[in-house]
């Protein structure tokens, strides 16, 4: 089954989503939104992996396996991020990311 959509279209979509996630992670001030922007960036990378697994130089199932592993790690990262957020909120009563500067020298 060959695809009529060129691989560059998928890569461009992933690039746009990655840039949106990067901009959101750098500009948003709510920590939950920063975390979810990071999830969006990881998702864009997963699109790249799956696109190369079908339309790349050597198509095989390995790209999908890599995407599965990165999803598992992303889920663990989201849970840890939320737990850190909870601990911070209990101590500082803020979710604002530029008030979390305790370790700033």
């Amino acid at each position: 089954m060959s695809s009529s959509v060129p691989i560059s279209a998928f890569l461009a979509l992933a690039l746009i989503l990655f840039c949106i996630g990067l901009y959101g992670a750098l500009t948003k001030r709510n920590t939950v939104i920063v975390l979810i922007s990071i999830e969006l960036m990881l998702n864009a990378v997963n699109i790249n992996l799956v696109a190369f697994s079908k339309l790349g130089v050597a198509p095989s199932i390995n790209g999908q396996i890599f995407a599965l592993f990165s999803m598992a790690i992303a889920a663990a990262e989201a849970a840890i991020g939320l737990a850190i957020l909870m601990a911070l909120y209990r101590n500082r009563k803020t979710v604002n990311i530029d008030e979390m500067d305790t370790m700033k020298h």
């Binding site: 989503l17 999830e39 999803m71 737990a83 601990a87």
Partner: protein, 171 residues
């Protein structure tokens, strides 16, 4: 224009507009809900790339679990929070230029990328192929992932646990 291309255009449009809504909405809960549209259309993109199992996993994990956990995070902190725009146009402009420059450079590398299409039967018994690969070639990373998930679970519980003794002293 084939149906596949049309489906790709529609899904890509929904995904990008969800991302743009994430950047522009003011209420935090609305931002997370805009991201759900993006996650579901990414699942559609996976189906176009003949990765049916990954599409189902995407809907389960991202638009299910991660969205719910983020909504819990919002509710348990400041649920009526608004991401009020703060000044700092210089910083935002510089960041936008930097991200746009990054996008332009990467786009130069990918815009006419084309590989000869090889036929690979990825869509035939997709889940079975993934299972066979996971349990033969990738068995050690697979087991290591379970350790990572266990450590993350315990770590999250310990981090978010109430420090009873300290809080009793404070109150």
């Amino acid at each position: 224009m084939s149906g596949e291309f049309l489906a790709f255009i529609i899904l890509a449009f929904i995904a990008v507009s969800g991302g743009v809504l994430l950047l522009n909405l003011t209420k935090v809960v609305h931002m997370v809900l805009a991201l759900v549209a993006t996650f579901i259309s990414i699942a559609g993109i996976y189906i176009l790339l003949s990765a049916e199992f990954l599409a189902v996993v995407q809907i389960l994990i991202y638009s299910g679990a991660i969205t719910i956990i983020m909504l819990f995070g919002i509710m348990l902190t400041r649920h009526d929070d608004k991401d009020e725009p703060k000044g700092g146009w210089v910083k935002k402009g510089t960041l936008f230029l930097g991200v746009a420059g990054f996008a332009a450079v990467v786009y130069l590398g990918i815009y006419n990328l084309d590989f000869p299409q090889l036929n690979q039967e990825l869509h035939v018994n997709n889940t079975e192929q993934i299972g066979i690969a996971l349990y033969t070639k990738y068995i050690i990373p697979f087991e290591l992932t379970s350790i990572v998930l266990l450590v993350a679970l315990i770590g999250a519980i310990i981090l978010a646990k109430r420090d009873d003794k300290k809080e009793a002293d404070e109150s």
